[in-house]
Amino acid sequence: MKQLLSFIKKEFYHVFRDRKTLLMLFGLPIAQIILFGFALTNEIKNAKIVVVDYAKDEASRQIADKVDASTYFDIDKYLSGHEEIEEAFRSGKIKMALIFPDHFYSDLLHTNKAQVQVIADASDLNTATTLTNYISNIITDYQSGLNKGTTIPYRIVPEIRMLYNPQLKGEHTFIPGMMAMIMMIICVMMTAISIVREKELGTMEILLVSPFKPILVILSKFVPYLLISLMNVTSILLLSKFFLNLPVQGSIVLLYAISFIFIITSLCLGLLISIKSESQQTAMFISLMATLLPTLLLSGFMFPIENMPLPLQIISNIVPSKWFYVIVKSIMIKGSGFQTIWKETLILCGMALFLLIVSLRSFKIRLA
């Protein structure tokens, strides 16, 4: 026990002596949240838009004026035809285009139905979503003004097109996704690097010749990163509650328990990588390939898994972050309890156990 403690102490020295890494360990989650927090700010003011008015009638002008008058939009210019829209978007300044077809007002009067086309630049996803919401509200507002005092139920249907990114996603999914990503990076990469470093330096040999048990070497490598990761979970949750107004809906204890299992899974993955690699660079590279890419691409965090080709959907099942992401999302956002997530939890436990056994078995006691 005393041996273990002096080893763990040494590991903490390594972590705290390396200022740059330390900054990354604690700074990364905070920086990410704050950045995402600002990116997610919904309020947009004076977004420049262009208008193509084929109708040039009373209604189209009134709507355009109403849009221009709002704090959200500034009409940059009126274009003569929709061919010019693409060019306007390319310039990068224009966020949205509003197109009134011919006979807008007469359609509205005679058929009770008119269309206005809204084209948003969805390469900037959050802005596009927000702006289309604003414009819909303005049009609805105008519509209800028209309906006042008349018996004919006028109806304007805004037809919204999201250019460049037709698949819009929820805004708060990034917290669970980021938790998965940060824990994966820290646990897998740091563990792998710190074990491989001992191999490179030759200190691993000394440890193997000493009466210190190899299993304890692994244990003491795990402890610091486990603690750091749990601290990061805490800081992410606090920030998400107080900075992003996204409190955890479900049980905090359950969330920590799940995080613990996920951290163990990641640590074992790191151990496995450290066994297979001979240099710190290799370890770092493999870790990034094994964690960052699958977490970004196959966890459902960035891209919905349901829309992927079947082979990728199947592969996504072996990515631990996917399960962690699914569980955390339901606990945090839906407030689900254990009874709804036990299946996913079981899978995650299974992965942790599998990796633990495989990595412990292949951690060689002798060097050759």
């Binding site: 080893f7 030759g202 200190t203 040999e205 010749v209 009466p211």
Partner: protein, 246 residues
């Protein structure tokens, strides 16, 4: 006096078709400084690793500190110290942290750790550098510190694998003073080297060529038998026929 602490009998290690160490049989006595010489690739490190429990022998028998290398590895570990050719201290830890760490993993008690590290810092004259990171020390000092740390738990035997690589002659001489000191305390020293002047410092030396022990005796006897003036000449005569080289 002639109590043997290492005994090997036809100890062999084979990697595929390659026989790295072929039927090594020798004895090392208690308190002796036993030199293990050979060109690169002669099998010195392999032999040492088998004795330390880092490699499983392919055949033959060996006992270290009275324990069998196959059956009692854990017992052997408690009774040996080891210093590899790679530098084996943590550079981002201070001198005293390194000492405490290694003493700690050998399970020394707190009071003993304190006493030992005091003694060690005094002996190596590192009082001023006690709280400096090891990375700031010159290589020679680090090597001396690494050796002292390797014997901090007073092992029966200490294995040194080319401990003085890249160190200047003056520091090497000081390093050997530490080795003599350890030997006086009854620690058996098993050292591999390819510096011939160091070979002269050993009580007995064995010279390995192509995985086989070609000669084993005191430096004086070896020089006499091979009618040479220096160990260097003895070694050259023996190594001339070597087939393996790097």
């Amino acid at each position: 006096m002639n109590e043997s602490v290492i005994t090997t009998n036809k100890l062999t290690k084979q990697f595929g078709d390659f026989i790295a160490a072929n039927e090594l049989s020798f004895e090392v006595n208690k308190g002796e400084i036993f030199g293990f010489l050979g060109a690169n690739g002669a099998g010195k490190t392999t032999a040492m690793r088998m004795l330390c429990g880092l490699l499983v022998p392919s055949s033959g028998t060996a006992t270290v500190a009275g324990y069998d290398v196959y059956k009692h590895r854990e017992k052997i570990k408690q009774n040996i110290g080891y210093m590899s050719q790679k530098f084996s201290l943590y550079e981002d830890l201070t001198v005293s942290e390194n000492i405490k760490f290694y003493a700690g993993i050998y399970g020394l008690s707190d009071s003993l750790i304190k006493e030992k590290s005091e003694q060690l810092i005094h002996q190596l004259d590192l009082r001023k550098e006690e709280n400096q990171l090891v990375s700031s020390l010159p290589l020679g000092w680090r090597q001396k510190l690494a050796f002292s740390v390797a014997v901090i738990h007073d092992p029966k035997i200490v294995f040194l694998d080319e401990p003085t690589g890249g160190v200047d002659p003056v520091t090497r001489r000081q390093f050997w003073d530490l080795i003599y000191d350890a030997a006086h305390r009854g620690i058996t020293v098993f050292v591999t080297t390819h510096y011939m002047d160091e070979a002269e410092y050993c009580n007995r030396i064995s010279i390995m060529v192509d995985g086989v022990i070609e000669a084993l005796d005191t430096p004086a006897n070896l020089k006499k038998n091979y009618s040479s003036k220096s160990m260097d000449e003895v070694f050259r005569q023996l190594a001339r026929n070597a087939k393996r080289s790097e």
